[in-house]
């Protein structure tokens, strides 16, 4: 496990040690899908959202 924070809501994230590049993880606080874009050093960013009609 390694620690970082969610780029969306600043929640502490525990990243599994065996995580892979391009893997998607979810933030437990805000529900954002985050993509691992680099492992060394660890970098992640918001994954592209699937377009949907929520709220219509």
């Amino acid at each position: 496990m390694s620690g970082t924070v969610c780029p969306e809501c600043d929640a502490a994230l525990e990243i599994p040690a065996d995580v892979m590049e391009n893997e998607l993880i979810a933030c437990l606080d805000c529900g954002s899908e985050l993509e691992i874009i680099a492992l060394d050093p660890l970098q992640l960013e918001l994954a592209p959202e699937v377009e949907e009609d929520w709220g219509e």
């Binding site: 969306e8 809501c9 600043d10 929640a11 606080d29 805000c30 954002s32 899908e33 929520w54």
Partner: protein
């Protein structure tokens, strides 16, 4: 076991208190009074409690001494007989508005009549644990809270305590059970069903409690609209912040406010159907869900909240206060997670 009595147990709030207390592991409900339902079984007016207790309503003058009395009476009635109730129990929780304020003139202004027991007003602690937990813990007399005021107070307290908020305009959508169990022309089904009825666009009496908790100086307005819902309060607060903030600052502020608070939950999800607080999700529970949306300018913040007016807005908060008053775990008897869907 704490031997508890309920005075005025035939209303909606009394029924909710009974539902919670009958399954509280440290409480025995020993008496429930009702002037209108004396000698009738509780399930006569609270059908969900059929088979859960053999208690019958008793007349108010038949009340006996016990450890703690909940007063679930119409506004004004508790104050008129508070001396008698105080002789019956060393601890009192009054769910009406009679002892929420600490000033008789203010009470008269908001409730339209002189207070019947002004000397008792300073003896009561306003029963919102998230506002003043330690005062509730040591109190023998605690007041209940107004449901609409509680939604506003819990939603905005983090911003007020941080000094971030400049002003707020709030819209509350509420369910019909706020009106109590007495039928009126306005509650007649053909007229009430499907209604979207703003019954207090300005000057709602709960403003007094909001001022008590959030302070006199914050420019704040709220309106209340009854909608097609039985239980629930839904709050939207349009807040102007003193300076622009980014979303992560708001997250940190509200996350800190909810930490350690067993009945506050931060609901702001980027995914799924339930991304913001909804009254339906908290119906029957003691939770108040909080959420927000920050406008692109960083200064217009929309805060959202949802609670059950009979739960966190009345009976649930009262039981939470009882737990604190008698030294129990604050969440005892209050962990029901609600129904879904």
């Amino acid at each position: 076991m704490i031997r508890v009595g309920i005075v005025g147990g035939s209303g909606f709030t009394g029924g909710e208190l009974l539902r919670l207390l009958l399954y509280h592991p440290d409480v025995e409900v020993v008496q429930v009074s009702s002037r209108s339902q004396a000698r009738r079984p509780m399930h006569h007016v609270h059908p969900n409690l059929r088979g859960h207790s053999r208690l019958q309503f008793i007349a108010p003058d038949a009340l006996q001494p016990c450890d703690l009395l909940f007063l679930a009476l119409p506004h004004g009635a508790a104050a008129r007989e508070i001396e008698r109730y105080a002789l019956l129990a060393p601890a009192i929780i009054d769910l009406s508005a009679d002892f929420r304020l600490n000033d008789a003139a203010s009470w008269q202004h908001w409730y339209g009549e002189a207070h019947a027991a002004p000397d008792w007003m300073p003896r009561f602690v306003y029963g919102l644990p998230e506002y003043q937990r330690e005062q509730v813990r040591g109190a023998s007399c605690v007041s209940g809270v107004g449901c609409n005021a509680t939604a506003i107070n819990l939603a905005l307290m983090p911003l007020v305590r941080a000094g971030w908020i400049e002003r707020a305009a709030i819209e509350l959508k509420v369910g019909s059970s706020e009106g109590g169990n007495r039928a009126t022309a306005g509650s007649h089904h053909p007229l009430r069903s499907g209604a979207v009825r703003t019954y207090s666009a300005a000057g709602h009496r709960h403003m007094a409690e909001v001022r008590l908790v959030l302070g006199e100086d914050l420019p704040l307005h709220f309106s209340v609209t009854a909608i097609e819902m039985v239980r629930g309060v839904h709050l939207l607060a349009h807040c102007d912040l003193r300076q622009a903030r980014d979303e992560r600052e708001i997250w940190r502020l509200y996350r800190a406010a909810c930490e350690g608070e067993p009945f506050l939950r931060l609901v702001r999800s980027k995914t799924g159907l339930h991304r913001v607080p909804e009254p339906r999700v908290v119906a029957g529970t003691n939770y108040c869900d909080l959420g927000f949306e920050l406008d692109s300018d960083g200064r217009h913040l929309v805060v959202m909240a949802a609670l059950d007016n009979l739960g966190k807005g009345a009976a649930g908060s009262a039981v939470q206060c009882m737990n604190l008053m008698v030294g129990l775990e604050e969440t005892t008897g209050l962990t029901f997670p609600g129904l879904y869907p």
